[in-house]
């Protein structure tokens, strides 16, 4: 996420329905959903 300049604090990453931590290695072909976590109230 850091390499892609995506804020770890602003998003959670989900792979195959499971939350993954920001140090997780992802492989080519993995589908990662980035879920924004901040809302504007």
């Amino acid at each position: 996420m850091k390499e892609k300049n995506i804020s770890v604090s602003d998003h959670l990453a989900v792979r195959a329905g499971e939350l993954i931590t920001d140090d997780e290695m992802v492989k080519t072909g993995d589908l990662i959903e980035l879920i924004p976590v901040i809302s504007g109230g």
Binding site: E18, I20, T21, D22, I38, S39, G41
Partner: protein, 307 residues
């Protein structure tokens, strides 16, 4: 990354707590933390009737889920604001709230602004020419009035809202930048009951927004992920992004910012303002009976005054 408690694969790393946890231990840890804060700050007990303000978003549904699992006596209140152009924001949020309540056999009350008062929030905003192109200030005024009416009429003891640490830190930053002393004096997570108002509490005030989102995802809570169309470019989002940048470079920044503010308040910061924030006018609105300082109709009733 491994779970600190069992060594299994972690699903969340909370750098501010220097703690990574697996799914099972995170779903045990967060409710335990919330219960600890409820008790530590004297928010409520198992004897209280608690009304939970529900928006259909991750925070309010996660809070309701946790309070329900902890065994507290809760009912929910969803206020349909009628923000339904484009993405049907209000109606879709209501469906998430209803489905959540139905799945758990919980009672959800629905207040529909258009049905009850004849106009939606955007329509009131246009008619009264308040808020320029955004009805956000009206939205806060109307929600506060309706929540207060529900809590009094329903004889609840406590109103719980799902404001999280990111919300509180962003509001604190905004009020500090503006030196809004009146607001700075009343940013506490527990506001005691006063004549005309019941006690208000924020059980998530020490919980990062990222943590409530993780809880919602891990417990498979279906929630409204779209933002209110009027929150685009909101100042709160702007401040939250800045705070998160600081947080990434210096974990714990948001927590220290808010907790040290509470410490300053408890040590007497803004003394005159704290006293006035605790005081309440004895005047009542002649139309709705809610407390007011205006000397006539309250700000809410003035919105609908045709005279």
């Amino acid at each position: 990354m491994r779970c600190r408690k069992c060594g299994e694969k972690a699903v969340i790393n909370m750098r501010q707590h220097r703690l990574s946890l697996c799914k099972q231990h995170y779903l045990e840890w967060l409710p335990t933390q919330i219960l600890k804060f409820i008790n530590k700050y004297g928010m409520f007990s198992e004897h209280d009737r608690i009304l939970v303000a529900i928006s259909g978003g991750k925070d309010s549904l996660a809070l309701w889920d946790i309070l329900w699992k902890l065994g507290f006596h809760t009912e929910g209140l969803y206020i349909n604001l009628g923000i339904n152009s484009e993405i049907a924001y209000s109606n879709r949020s209501m469906i998430f709230a209803q489905e959540f309540a139905n799945q758990r056999s919980l009672t959800l009350h629905i207040a529909d602004i258009k049905t009850d008062y004849g106009e939606s929030i955007p329509e009131i905003s246009i008619r009264t020419r308040r808020g320029r192109d955004k009805p956000c200030s009206l939205c806060g005024l109307i929600k506060r009035h309706v929540m207060n009416r529900f809590t009094i009429d329903g004889q609840y003891n406590v109103l719980a809202t799902a404001h999280n640490l990111d919300d509180e830190a962003a509001i604190l930053l905004a009020n500090t930048l503006d030196w809004s002393l009146e607001f700075l004096a009343r940013g506490k997570p527990v506001l005691p009951s006063k004549p005309g108002f019941i006690k208000k509490v924020k059980p998530f005030f020490r919980t990062y927004e990222r943590e409530t989102a993780a809880y919602a995802i891990l417990t498979h809570i279906e929630y409204m992920r779209d933002e209110c169309p009027f929150s685009t470019d909101s100042k709160q989002l702007y401040y939250k992004k800045y705070l998160n940048e600081w947080e990434e470079n210096c974990p714990g920044t948001k927590l220290r910012f808010y907790l040290n503010y509470l410490k300053a308040i408890s040590q007497g910061a803004f003394p005159g303002r704290q006293e006035s924030a605790g005081q309440l006018s004895q005047q009542r609105c002649p139309q709705c009976g809610q407390p007011t300082n205006t000397g006539s109709l309250c700000a809410f009733c003035k919105l609908f005054d045709k005279t």
